[in-house]
Symmetry: C2
Subunit: 494 residues, 2 copies
């Protein structure tokens, strides 16, 4: 080493040490400010992602970060939408999450291997962009790194790995294939970055041939992003607590529901019985054809959600369905994006998830009680539509039920519950308080039904003053939708 090189090396070492101290300090600041940080590493095989991640994490307190690795989906993940494994691992407030290869990896592999067509690709990029927007809108500091090395360097590294018994297994046939078609793969990567570079989620390309230089660039990129986010921290969000301005949602879809619809007991029993048996058979078919099903239930207190769900599930095999009740979020849930806890219950392909109250809490109770800002709930309509679209893109049947009763019927049911010792526990002071906000809820529900009933994931308004009628309508709707999808899928499978 010449004197000059020695000096350069010393300088670089000092810079690296400084960058690490800076990162340690910023980690503590982000923890205090409750900022979640998400760092993704993508790039060429043998570019040294593992090594660079290890250097980066040496700067952090291990109590504050998680590293998730793996460039392919596991068994559990293959059965869910491709963004699922990232969504459920997104960082909580104040924590850092590092992904060794991100949501881009699978898309790029499928593209290189020509497994994904134009339509799949378009859907995947749209899903990714919506996901990144949701994360960053939710306050996540997102750093996307892309590590590059030249074709020649890659070949050299593959050969070095192959030369040693302990590391030879790391180089796969596919790795060599991508090296041989380096230019083609490079083009795919460039295009991908162009299509997904956004101000809120920019790409940083890192030349990873020289390890120390790359490490310094990575550390500084991460530190800059954390610092910028800390500086930009908005003043305490303004909660929405004023009166709802009178607008066109006061009289909407709900007012038009025909609540006189009913069903005599005999007919109810016969039809219910037939529908339940049919549903049990369809459930087997769903499993066989690997179709995931998401059913959301919303409605007034005492509108009969629980009863409808029990009729829906009473003949199902518990191995294939799950009822997911939604209560107030716990601490861990509160520390994440509001959609996170629902991502955690997204069913595997072939399974049914039934949500007793749903992510629509954002635009109902959270809106009305001021648990989120107006900006946040207004943004939620689109976010929810995007999430449901992603589920449908992954092959899911998505249905949402609004169980509707009128105010008099609710009062009758509340009083019934009070009189029945086995049901008293079902009624709380909060139910009575919510009742007083009926008009504001009605307005919010009207707006929600209008803005989030999509072709992919429609709302079904269930006239619920007659429990018999409501239960049969729910079951019938589910049976029809499943039959339709099963036929489609069988036709597609040929």
């Amino acid at each position: 080493m010449s004197e000059k090189e020695k000096k350069q090396s010393m300088e670089q070492k000092a810079k690296l040490e400084q960058a690490m101290l800076r990162l340690g300090l910023l980690q503590r600041k982000c923890r205090e400010a409750k900022l979640p940080v998400l760092i993704t590493f993508d790039g060429y095989d043998a570019a040294g992602k593992g090594l660079q991640i290890n250097r980066l994490i040496q700067a952090f307190d291990p109590r504050g970060f998680d590293v998730y690795t793996g460039d392919r989906d596991g068994e559990e993940e293959l059965l869910r939408p491709f963004l699922w494994r990232f969504a459920v691992k997104a960082p909580a407030a104040g924590r850092i999450v590092i992904f060794d290869t991100s949501w881009y990896r699978k898309v790029q592999m499928d593209r290189f291997d020509k497994k994904a067509g134009k339509k799949e690709l378009k859907n995947a990029f749209a899903d990714i962009l919506a996901f990144e927007k949701q994360l960053t809108d939710g306050g996540v500091v997102l750093v996307k790194l892309f590590l590059t090395i030249s074709e020649k360097e890659q070949r050299k590294r593959f050969k070095a790995l192959e030369a040693s018994k302990e590391t030879a297994w790391r180089v796969s046939e596919n790795d060599w294939k991508r090296n041989e078609q380096y230019e083609k793969y490079e083009k795919i990567n460039q295009k991908m970055r162009e299509q997904t570079d956004r101000p809120y989620a920019p790409w940083t390309v890192v030349d990873a041939e020289k390890k120390n230089e790359a490490a310094l660039k990575i550390m500084n990129t991460v530190a800059d992003a954390m610092e910028a986010a800390l500086a930009a921290e908005a003043p305490a969000a303004q909660l929405f607590d004023g009166p709802v301005p009178p607008d066109r949602y006061q009289k909407g879809i709900l007012a038009k529901a025909d609540l006189s619809l009913s069903l005599p007991q005999k007919e109810y029993k016969d039809r219910l019985d037939a529908l339940q048996k049919k549903l049990a058979l369809l459930h087997s078919e769903l499993y066989r054809l690997r179709i995931p099903v998401v059913l959301g239930f919303e409605g007034w207190d005492a509108a009969g959600k629980g009863g409808a769900i029990r009729r829906l599930t009473s003949h199902l095999d518990p191995r294939g369905y799950k009822v997911c009740p939604t209560a107030s979020p716990n601490d861990e849930e509160r520390a994440h994006h509001y959609l996170w806890r629902f991502w955690n219950n997204i069913p595997k392909a072939g399974h049914i998830a039934i949500f007793d109250r749903t992510w629509y809490g954002r635009v109902m109770v959270e809106r009305i009680e001021g648990f989120c800002t107006e900006t946040e709930w207004r943004r939620a309509y689109q976010e929810i539509n995007e999430m449901e679209q992603h589920l449908v893109n992954a092959g899911a049947v998505v249905l949402k039920f609004w169980l509707h009763i009128d105010k008099d019927e609710q009062e009758r049911r509340f009083n019934d519950r009070l009189k029945n010792p086995d049901k008293q526990w079902k009624i709380t002071d909060e139910d009575w308080r919510n009742r007083e906000k009926w008009d504001r809820y009605e307005e919010a529900v009207n707006e929600m039904l209008e803005k989030t009933s999509t072709k992919a994931a429609p709302w079904v308004l269930v006239e619920g003053n007659s429990k018999y009628y409501a239960r049969v309508k729910v079951l019938e709707t589910v049976v029809d939708a499943l039959e339709k999808r099963i036929k489609q899928k069988e036709a597609k499978n040929g």
Copy 2:
């Protein structure tokens, strides 16, 4: 149906309804009393486990239970000890967990298929018994159900399933094989129940040919167990807060450590460098041979745990290791068995988990601060040995390090931290308070080292007044243990 049959059927229906009401009420009581309930369903194929579980859960509020199904381990689970997937899903305080086939299933399958030898079987039953004892000692209400049907009835049900397109796929070749060798399988099951029937974890055999009778028996068994546990609820546990009686652990292993051991800087650097490079290669070998590694670090505050761990990991591939720091338990952790949160970080085969503070908190800080009862921490020595033995039975390398410094050295380091602005955050009032309890900690540590240093999972006392010496000793010990295990495994693989 004769008049008599009609009457019987009516009576049965009334009994079932009553049992369901009773279960609903007991669920609410167990939630209030924070009792966790674990119900397992095992038994013959086509005995109707799914149907019976579905009937049982109709009685429960869905906010309070989870059903876990699957009679085989998934990808993630195959790479971990066979009790892992059950340990991490054990119920939190006040919740009900239902397993559709339990920890017995795999053992029984392996036995039927002659995959497990005598020794494996003996280990498996010992592991299971220890696990059930730990659960129930920890307050879990454990109900083990075994559903039986006759050979003839099973054949009938298989044929019925096969007759319909929607359900034919449910009957596998192995199912038929077990039906053909019904007697052999029955004997295995009987023996299994005999060997694992304990007062704290009794088996209940349910004749499942008649569905309503079986449902009633299951519901009443579960309800009786819940009721008995509620009745037996001990008065508030007596916390241990008296002075520690002088005993033989006051002067023990720690006093014998030679804290003058040290290493000059030059030798430290050379040996550290060589060891780190060697460890990186061994890490690849571990992965290739699918050997899991569990390293636990305990020691006095400022003894250098963090520094030793950083030297250990600095050359490792982050895809293959994880540092798991142990802070005060959060709400979810507090609602589970004290070992639960460590089960959640048990590494996959081929991966290294490094615990910065460990499950030994139970017999140190929890003992000394009175966070658990004396009965609980005294029981913990055996529980911990059993858990570690289970890991070793599953092929893991388990090492525990006690980083030891004397009281003067600790004071020097505390003062150093106070003076260094980059390190001030590392020192808290609690550190000073713990220091005042040095003698009580020393006693607890001596007892712990003596009672939990086993052949399978030894403690390594690291003389830590010299950081250089300590780091090299840690790395050397890890490298030696890994080399030894790798050789063993390669010899075994042939």
